[in-house]
Each structure stands twice: as C-alpha cells, then as structure tokens.
C-alpha cells in the first residue's frame, strides 16, 4: 500500500534556529513529491520535486529529493514566528493519479 511518513510529528524551536523536516515514501509509479504549508486554512504550495539531487529554494526554505532512498527534506533557516504551521508532504502517483499525504509536521517557532 502506498504511504508517506513524515517526521518529526511536531517540533518547537526558537526564532533564528534552523529546522529540517523529513518525508519518506513508498509509492508505486512515483511522479513527484510536493511540500505544502498549512496555517489556519488551505494548504499552500511550496515546492514540487521530480528529480533527485536538485535543490529547490525559495527564500529561507529549501528542499531536496532522493529518489534512490525514497525521501525528501525541507529545510527552513533563520526561522521566524510566521513559519509556525503544519508542513505537509505529498507524493503524486502517475499510476493511480492520487496525491498521497503524510501526517504532517507541526512546527512552532517561539519568539
């Protein structure tokens, strides 16, 4: 059965810290891996990764995919209180057309 596992489940850090969030997956017919940030309402899209070893970067956030070891990491440097959210990882399957979500990592950044 396809699955996506995220770790840690929750994390509390102080402003300025760097955090690394993990996502591992077992999916048939892998197409892409996506990261989302969810605050109070809808998940908002951060990155889509399709190729191993190519880092995607947006400001203080970056992500990379390892298709051999079947995982991805999301890094956030110099964290701010506005980074407090649930970070969701999803994997898209070209076989089933599904986007399968992990349970999320709840990040809290303290001032």
């Amino acid at each position: 059965e396809d699955k996506v596992v995220q770790s840690p489940l929750s994390l509390v850090v102080h402003e300025g810290d760097t955090v690394t969030l993990n996502c591992s997956y077992e999916v048939t017919n892998f197409r892409s891996l996506l990261w989302y940030k969810q605050e109070k309402k809808a998940p908002t899209f951060l990155f889509m990764l399709t190729s191993s070893g190519i880092e995607k970067k947006s400001g203080r956030l970056s992500s990379i995919l390892d298709k051999k070891e079947l995982f991805s990491i999301l890094n956030i440097t110099a964290t701010q209180t506005g980074d407090s959210a649930i970070y969701l990882c999803a994997v898209a399957s070209s076989g089933t057309y599904k986007y399968i979500f992990g349970t999320g990592t709840r990040l809290k950044v303290l001032a």
Partner: protein, 113 residues
C-alpha cells in the same frame, strides 16, 4: 479573485440531515478533488474528477455522492449525516492527472451534532 472557492465555510447540522458543499475553480484546471481532513490534520483523498469523469473513488460510504456538472465545478452531497462525518472538507484542483501541484480551497468545516 479566489482560485478555488468553496461554500459554505462552516456547516453545523444534526445527525440524519442531508447537506451539500459546493466548489468552483477559475484556474482552468481539468481535474478536481475532494479531501477530508480529520482532527489530526491528516488529509485523505475521497474523490477525483477529470473533465467531469470520476477517476478516483476511495472507500467512502455511499452516503457521499460527488457531482461534477462541468470541469470548473465539483459538488459534494452527503446524506444521513453521522457524527463521524465531522471534519474539514477541502476541494482542490490541478492541471492534468497528478502532473501539477494541487491548489486548495479554504475548506468547509462540517460539524455534526
């Protein structure tokens, strides 16, 4: 100019009632989805339509019936509501079949009492 919009935002109703949630997207996407997010924030796929054709139908009770009148709209009707149906329901859309990022609506928080 909201890309994926759902109505209503909140729905409080009693067990046994029937209710509907509507979703519209103006992104020109051809695929739409319904996800259920439980109290632990786990997002689970329920249904997906591609160009008005049902392509994903997960193990969801028959009380849930999606309907897509055109590729910009996907509605969800729920019959005989139960306590366990309480959750946040998200509509989403994408271009192509799992080929591009999902864009989510703001969700409908359903509370069944």
């Amino acid at each position: 100019d909201t890309a994926v919009s759902q109505t209503p935002k909140y729905l409080v109703t009693q067990m046994g009632n029937d209710k509907s949630i509507k979703c519209e997207q103006n992104l020109g996407h051809d695929t739409m989805y319904w996800y259920k997010q439980d109290s632990k924030k786990f997002l689970k796929i329920m249904f997906s339509y591609n160009n008005k054709e049902l392509i994903i139908n997960e193990t969801v009770p028959n009380r849930f019936s999606p309907k897509s009148p055109d590729k910009a709209h996907l509605n969800l009707h729920i019959n005989s509501l139960e306590l366990g149906d309480s959750a946040v329901y998200f509509c989403a859309s994408s271009q192509g079949l799992s080929a591009s990022p999902l864009h989510f609506g703001n969700g409908t928080r359903l509370t069944v009492t």
